[in-house]
Symmetry: C2
Subunit: 191 residues, 2 copies
């Protein structure tokens, strides 16, 4: 049976969208937000300007869509690590380390428009999701006796996220790993 016309259209739209997102992100990273124009994006993506405007009204909306996709990919990556084999403590360590590396990369590029992007609703939503996610892992760790139980998982979540945000200023992988180790020491049951 031939593929349905709608599916083909849908797939085509997704492909155009993805191309636009990647082209724009690359142009912005290379030339800065202010230097990039919709015409340049259309040209580099290999689509007409009129078509581009059917997908996105402006560069900001493209960057927000790109950012949403990035955040989604990061959350998927963390969820995969959470669902691996291992004790809660081991899985917590894997997730926090991956999160710290994401923070490090995030600050490496895109400083210029990160303030703009981080004001969006999609970010608030993703942050809530991330908090719940980490809190769940911490609560599992408490039950397994691998995480301290004298401070609520909610407060420990805040501690983790703030401490690991510091990875944004670190330049080496080794330093990020040390930061994760120090943060985990803060989470362990205290004698």
């Amino acid at each position: 049976m031939p593929r349905l016309w709608n599916e083909t259209i849908e797939e085509h739209r997704r492909a155009v969208r993805d191309t636009v997102l990647e082209t724009t992100a690359a142009l912005v990273a290379e030339q800065g937000l202010r230097a990039v124009t919709m015409s340049r994006i259309a040209e580099q993506s290999g689509i007409g300007r009129a078509t581009l405007y059917k997908y996105f009204p402006d560069i900001e909306s493209i960057m927000v869509a790109w950012h949403e996709r990035q955040i989604g990919a990061h959350l998927d990556q963390l969820a995969e690590l959470r669902d691996q084999a291992g004790t809660p403590g081991e899985r917590l360590e894997a997730v926090l380390e991956a999160y710290a590396f994401i923070q490090q990369q995030r600050h490496g590029h895109g400083g210029e428009f990160s303030a703009l992007l981080h004001r969006g609703d999609h970010v608030v939503h993703a942050e809530q999701h991330l908090r719940q996610f980490i809190r769940g892992l911490l609560a599992e760790g408490v039950q397994a006796g691998e995480v301290r139980d004298d401070v609520a998982p909610d407060e420990l979540t805040s501690f983790c996220l703030h401490a690991l945000a510091g990875a944004g200023t670190l330049t080496s992988k080794a330093a990020v790993k040390r930061l994760v180790a120090v943060t985990l020491s803060g989470l362990r049951p205290q004698s």
Copy 2:
């Protein structure tokens, strides 16, 4: 011997300046940065507008001066705690707790203009000073065997400052104390 004329002038100037700073900070906290005018500041400070303009060209410069004074007072407070009696670990704890409470208060008010103020050179300078200060305490702690020696004091300083920035989102004193306890656990020598 009568007081020198210059000293009297100097004292008078400082008094006017202090009054302007306090009046402006109170007005901004009450009504928001946009609602406050130089005329209103002059009126509330009990000085003429022309006099006010001899001291400060605009509200932003008053707020920066106020912020500089605040930061100076906070650094003095932390230095006092550092110079108290006690082991390096005890003094570190006192300093980090006071720092966390300062972070908590700071976020309580002034959100509107904090972004503006935090871009200033005086803040960069104060942050460098604070970092050196905390790093010194941590290095003392390492020597006394009260702070871990497997991570450089410089990296531990970053960890502390990022982790304790989380106090800005906490509403109770007890929660701030718990955050300080968790942060200190991360700093202790690991077995």
